[in-house]
Amino acid sequence: MALPLKYNFRNVIVRWRSTLATVLGIALVVAVFVLLRALARGIEASSANTGDARNILVVRKGSQAESGSIVTREHFRTIQYLDEIARNERGEPIISAELVLIVSAPRRNGTGEANTLIRGVTPRGMELRPQVKLVDGRWFVPGKREVVVARRLAARFAGFEIGGVIKSGQDRLAVVGHFDAAGSAFDSESWMDADEARSIFDRENYSSILLRPADATAATNLITRLERDKRLALRAEREVDYYSKQTMTAVPIKILAGLLGTAMSIGAVFAAMNTMYASVASRTREVGTLRVLGYSRRAIVLCFLIEGALLAAMGGVVGCLLALPLNGYATGTMDFQSFAETVFQFRVTPDLMLMGLAFSVIIGVAGSLLPALRAARLPVIVALKSI
C-alpha cells in the first residue's frame, strides 16, 4: 500500500526553508534551460514561418545564403519565359529577380555597427510574399532612393525610423515606411527597388530569383529542369525548403542549452540530494514507525521518490513561470549564413515548458533515489531508537 500523497505534500511544506532553497535552485536551472531552448526555437520559427509552399527560389549552386548567390541577367532572361511559370491576369510571368545586399549600419543602443540585409525587390516579388504588409508610412517609389524597413529591424538600428536615412558609402537612402512580415525571416530585411539597388551598389547581376510555377507538376518539372541544365549552374528549390535550412544559427545555441542544462542539472541533483538526505535523517523515527505500521520498503522508497519529484516539479513550475514573461521578447544576433543581423523572438511554447517540467522531475527523482533507498534500508529497531 502506498502512502497518501498528502503526507509528502505536508512534509515539503513543513520544512519550508530548505524546500524554498531547493525549489528556487531547480527553478533557475529550468528557467535557463527553457529560455535557451526558446531562443533557438525563435530562430527556427522565423525560418519556418517564411516562404510560400507554391513558390520556388533559384540561387547559385554551392551558395549557402541568398546574399552569397549570383544569378546573371542572362540566366534571368533564360528562365523568365519558361512555360512552367504561372502568369498573372495581365499575362506577365510571376517571377522576380532580386538582389540581396549587406549594408553596415549603427546600432540604436550605440554599441557599434552591424550588418543588415537590404533586398532589392520587384512588384512581382512583393506579390509573391503576401505575408509582408505595410504597417506605417508608404511603399518606396522606384528611382527616388527610398527604402522600406521591417518594423522589428527598425527598433534595433539608428536612422531606420520613418524620415531617417540609411547611409551606404556616399549614397543616402530615405526610409519612407515600415513593414511587418509576421515573424518571418523578412522581418530582418529592408526593401527597395531591385534595379535601383543594382545601380546604387554597382551590381551587374542579381542574387536570386523567386517565381511561382503554374501548378505542382510544373514545379517539379522546373526544379529538375534547372537542376539538369549544366550551363546555368543554378539550384532551384521550394521557398519553404530553402528557409527551413537557414537555421544554422540555432545550432550553437542548442548545444549551449544542452551543455549548460547538463552541467547545471548535475549541481541541482547534488542540491536536491542534500535536501532529501537531510529530510530522511530528520525523519528516521517516522520511517521506523511507518515500517512498524506495515508499510513495505517499496512504499517507503516510492514515498521519498514522490517527495523529491514533487519538490523538483514545484521548482520546474516556478522556472517555467520565470521564463514565461520573456515569451515574444524580440532580440537579434548575427546570422551565421548571411552574416547579417537576424531579428527573432523568444518562443516559450507549451511543449518547451513541458520539457522543462519533465527535466525538473528527472532532477528530483535522480536526487532522491539514494536518500530514498537509505530510508528504506533502515533497520526498524534502530530507526525507532534514534532521536
Partner: protein, 381 residues
Amino acid sequence: MIIATFIAKNALRNKRRAALTILSVAVSCALLVTLLTLQREMTIPPESEAASLRVIARNKVSLAQPLPAKQLAVIDKIPGIVAVSPFSFFGGNFREETVTSFAQFAVDPARFQNIIVEGKIAEGSYDNFIKDRNSCLVGADTLKRYGLKVGDQMRFTGTFYPANLDLRIAAVYQGTVDDRNVFFHHKLLDELLGDPGTVGTWYLRVESADVANDVIARVNKAFENTSAEVRAETERAFQMSFMSMLGNVKVLIGSISTVVVFTLVLVTVSTMSMAIRERFRELAILKALGFRRRELFSFILAESFGLAALGAFVGIGGAWAFWTFLDLQTLTRGFLVYFEVTPRIMATGATVAALLGLFSAIAPSIAVARMSVVKGLKTLD
C-alpha cells in the same frame, strides 16, 4: 590547533553532506569559470604584437561589398605603409563539408610575405608558394587536423564566389594567433571569376604603432567621395567589430553567469543552515560553557568558508585543467582554437566562492546568536 581540529571535525561530521556541498559548489564554480572564459573569448580577440601593426581596409558600405582593385596604386603611395596586399575572403567548403570550417583568403603572395611577419614556415618553402599560381599556404593546425602534407591537393567549393578551388599545398606556416587559415593567389581568383577587377579588402602593415592612426586616416581620406569609400581600422578593431555583431549574446552569457552564481548561493546557504540547525543543541552547550557569539560565528564562518574554498579549488582547478589539457580543436571540429582560462577569471571565480562562504555563514550565525541557551538545549531536530 584544538579549535582548528574541532572545526574540521564538525565540517566533515556528516561526510555525505560535506561531499555533496563541495561537489555542488565545484560544479557551479567550474560552470562559472567556463562561462566567463566563453564570454571573454567572444568579446576579446586574441592579442598579438604583429596584429597591432596591421590594418584592414574594407568598403564603407559593408564587408560584403567589394573594392576596386585599382585602389592599390593609390594605397602604395601612402607614406607609413610597409606592405599592402589584397585580402579576399573566399568562404569555400573543404572537400565534402557543408560548412566553412576554416577561412581561405586570396592574397598577393609576394606582398603578403611582409604582412604576416610573425608566421614561420614550418614545412615547404614560401618561394614555391610564390612561384606556383595553383598552390596555397596552409596553417599548421589545419594541416594537422586533416592529416595533410606538403604536395597534397585541397579542394574547395565556393559559397560566396561562383568558383571552386583546387590547390596544391606548397608551404605550411605556424606561430600566428590563428594557424588555421589557407592563403592562395589572388590572381587565381581573378582568373576564375573572369577578372572582375575587385578585391574583398586591403590588408596592410604600418611602420610602427605610432603612425597607425595617421595611416588609417590617410587611407580613409584617399578614397573619400569616390564611388568606393573605404573604412580602414586596425586588425584588432576589425575583429572586435565582427564580434560586436553577435549582439546580445554577450548579455545572454552574462545573465546566465549571474543565475549560476545565484543558484550557488542558494545551495550553499541552505546546506549551511541545515548543518547548523542540526547542531543547535551543541552550540547551546558551547554557549553555556562560556563561548561568546563572536567565537561561535567564527566557528561557523570557518566551516562554511572551508567548504566553499574546497569546492572552489576542485571546480576552478578542474575547469582549468579541463580546458587547458583538452584538444579543443579536434573536439569542436575547428570551431574553437583558444579557450584560455586566464588567472583573472580564476580569481573572479575564487572571489565569488569566498564571498559565498562568508555570505552563507551569516544567516545561521544570526540564528545562533539569537537563540537562548535554554531553548537551544531543548531542541531535538
